[in-house]
């Protein structure tokens, strides 16, 4: 009897593990197509800038969008934290639609590709989410904040940041936005940051834009965080956007907070780093039912209640924070930053068209700017 009971339990466990395993594998190896846009001149991989990254989970695609006229170079990072989908969707729109007249834009959709292949234990994240399009829909990996433990494990008892030696939470050694400037003999995530620093230096990047989303309980939200050398750009962009499109703040990168892109890239390279934050109720600790609907619609009664209690740093009502609004904010902020930069640096201008602004994305939806790979030239399709 005892043996029979054990056998049944083991069998049930194996069935459960098999179904779960199929799901884990399907999302980890989901191929996300990118249809290279009209200005994509070439597609490299991050491993070309630092050999030890080659062939790893973080050997991400690097899209080079080039204009006819020489100008400045802007690097846009999506997917630093893949669980913040507005960042990845913005870079997708950029790679598939942007038309460069002058200068270059370098785009990464999966800056921490490893983190896009895993979801958080106890977080109950959906495995994937689908953006509706006229041609059906495009499915993306959900991802997490931290690199996949299958790619980087174990964690230390305390993460000691290089080179500041600041103590950080142990799991943040797998957080790409705590590992800057990275180190060549470090963990996969640290090596990824190091590779990105090599890319920034080799390509003489002028501005780095790191796209994020934040829970509404987090004080740094709906804002542009700027390194001291980028404060003027952030201030001008913030003022113009708040006057013409939507309210957005600006903040100076705190010197005592280490490992973040808006601090370390500015300290360790010639580039000006800026970090955009849009509101994502899905990340709030008080959120209710956790599913793809909450991720994309951004509506949650519990988060609204937290807002009424004065616990939030951004407003929320029954309309929520839909993905179109969040992506729209990123796109418009990016366009505005390019405009401010180009106005002040004619020789290093980056002139771009073809990328929709806030109002247009809200009107048409994000899906309207994703291209159908089935109807595209196969030579232009790349997979993340």
């Amino acid at each position: 009897m005892n043996t029979l009971r054990k056998t049944i339990i083991i069998a049930l466990g194996l069935v459960l593990a098999a179904f779960a395993g199929i799901s884990f594998r399907a999302s980890r190896f989901l191929k996300e197509p990118v249809v290279a846009g009209p200005s994509v001149a070439r597609v490299a991989t991050l491993g070309e800038y630092f050999a030890p990254i080659k062939g790893t989970a973080n050997d991400a695609n690097v899209f080079f969008l080039e204009g006819a006229k020489p100008g400045g170079t802007v690097l846009v990072l999506g997917g630093t934290h893949p669980e913040e989908p507005a960042g990845r969707l913005t870079t997708w729109i950029l790679a598939e639609n942007a038309v460069l007249d002058q200068g270059r834009i370098i785009v990464l959709n999966s800056t921490n590709r490893s983190a896009s292949t895993v979801t958080r234990p106890s977080g109950a994240y959906p495995a994937t989410y689908t953006i509706k399009t006229d041609w059906g829909g495009q499915t993306f990996r959900m991802g997490d904040r931290w690199s996949n433990p299958l790619d980087q494990w174990p964690d230390p008892e305390v993460y000691i940041h290089y080179p500041s030696k600041q103590n950080l939470a142990y799991m943040d050694i797998r957080n790409l936005n705590r590992d800057w400037p990275g180190r060549p003999n470090g963990t996969l995530t640290e090596k990824t940051c190091y590779a990105l620093i090599q890319l920034i230096n080799k390509e003489a990047v002028d501005i780095v834009i790191d796209l994020h989303e934040a829970e509404l309980q987090y004080p740094v939200i709906s804002t542009i965080v700027a390194h001291p050398k980028g404060l003027d750009i952030a201030a001008m962009a913030s003022m113009t956007l708040s006057d013409e499109e939507f309210k957005i703040g600006m903040e100076k990168s705190p010197a005592e907070l280490r490992g973040l892109s808006h601090r370390e890239i500015g300290d360790f390279t010639k580039a000006i780093p800026l970090l955009f934050e849009s509101p994502e109720p899905f990340l709030d600790a008080t959120r209710g039912r956790t599913d793809a609907r909450l991720l994309l619609e951004g509506k949650d009664d519990f988060v609204v209640r937290a807002g009424k209690r004065g616990l939030l740093f951004e407003k929320i009502d029954a309309k929520g924070w839909p993905i179109d609004v969040r992506v729209g904010r990123h796109c418009s902020t990016l366009i505005q930053v390019l405009s401010v930069w180009s106005a002040d640096h004619a020789d290093k201008a980056v002139i771009m068209t073809g990328v929709p602004k806030y109002a247009e994305i809200i009107q048409k939806g994000v899906g309207a700017f994703l291209h159908d790979p089935a109807k595209s030239d196969p030579k232009k399709i790349y997979y993340e």
């Binding site: 106890s122 109950a124 964690d155 309980q217 280490r258 209710g288 004065g310």
Partner: protein, 434 residues
Amino acid sequence: MTSTMSMTTSATVILAAMVAAYVLAKILKLSTELSILAAALVGGLIGGAGIPARHIVEGAFTYLDICLIFITATLFMNLLKEAGGIAFVIRRVVQRFHHRKALLFIMLAVVMLIPGMLTGAGSVTVLIVGGLVASVLGYMGIPKPKAAAIVFVIAGLSAAAPPVSLWAMLTAAGVNMPYVGFFLPLMIPCLLLALATIFILGWKAKPADLDQILKELPEAPPGMSWFKIALPFLLFFALVVAGRIWPFDFPILGLPLMFAAAAAITLALSPVHINVLDVSRRTVHQLLPLIGTLTCVGILVQIMTLTGARGLIAISVVTLPVMVVILTLFLTLPISETVLMWGAAPVLGVPLVLLFNTINLNPIVALAGMSIIWPLGDALPPTAIIGRLTVETVGMKEKYGTFLKYCIVPAILIIIVGTLMVVFSKKLAFLTVF
């Protein structure tokens, strides 16, 4: 369900069903871990997710690292015991300090704080030094339930103590606050409360009768020495310290491998032959209830998050009036720990710290105050994971309630100190220097 009900109603119904399933499973005499699993499965079904294989398996992996630490640390201790090391240490400690109670208490408190401080896990304190300390206390006339209470309370404080305090670290990470400035706000109360605990509960202890104890104690095997006992510990601490001193040159080993290395050295130095497979089997068997509970708690948290039950608990707590929130910390923190263990930090700690931040309290000191209260929940049924581990390690045969009764006085003291730290966090902000 959610399309026709408000989110609050839906989550309340799901939470009620999960509680009912748990209670029913306990009535049917299922184990705690299976009862938790039953609650999670019912939550999934009532919540409209069916039997979500991906979420169940993913949740089961939440505490994998902690399970590995428990297994390797316990294997290390069991091998040391088999090698005769524990008997050797007990005999020497009693011989040296049997007539100086105060000095012995201070030494024992400090010795108990170290493993948890370094690993962030009270269970490691219990497993490494709990049995040894309880034996010494026993020979001083302290009954086993009282000795277990001393070990448990100080083990909890050791887990909250810096440099590794998981509750503080997980909560700080949840609000994107650097884990900096916590050393003194955590170290001072943990050290003082540990000393207070051992002196209060050990007040009636008598100096040990050396001859009688030595007669009753098991003999250490010939060939055992301080060197052979110290070397595995030295190796373990050396590996931890090396990671701190040379963080950019020393490989990241992880605590499980460090404990495994210590276990290997213990085995190699043992003066007696040890059947390592047999000890390994017994170790896993000994830890099965603990690992089972941790695995099922992970599944429960995942399903609660999936269905909104976790959000309901969090929003209900943080929307209470601030004074009510602070004055009920003594209930909410230990209870959340009982249900979620370290999961309590991201679920409850994050909104609480954000709440305290908005009313201008110092988030570091307030979080440190909360962090010393949280471990008390590890003694509370139904899970009582560390409590059960403690009474098992100490070898207590009395009812679990007797052990809990002795925990009350130090627990009240800890709750008062922790709550006052939250209330006066702004005035104590000068402690956040490093």
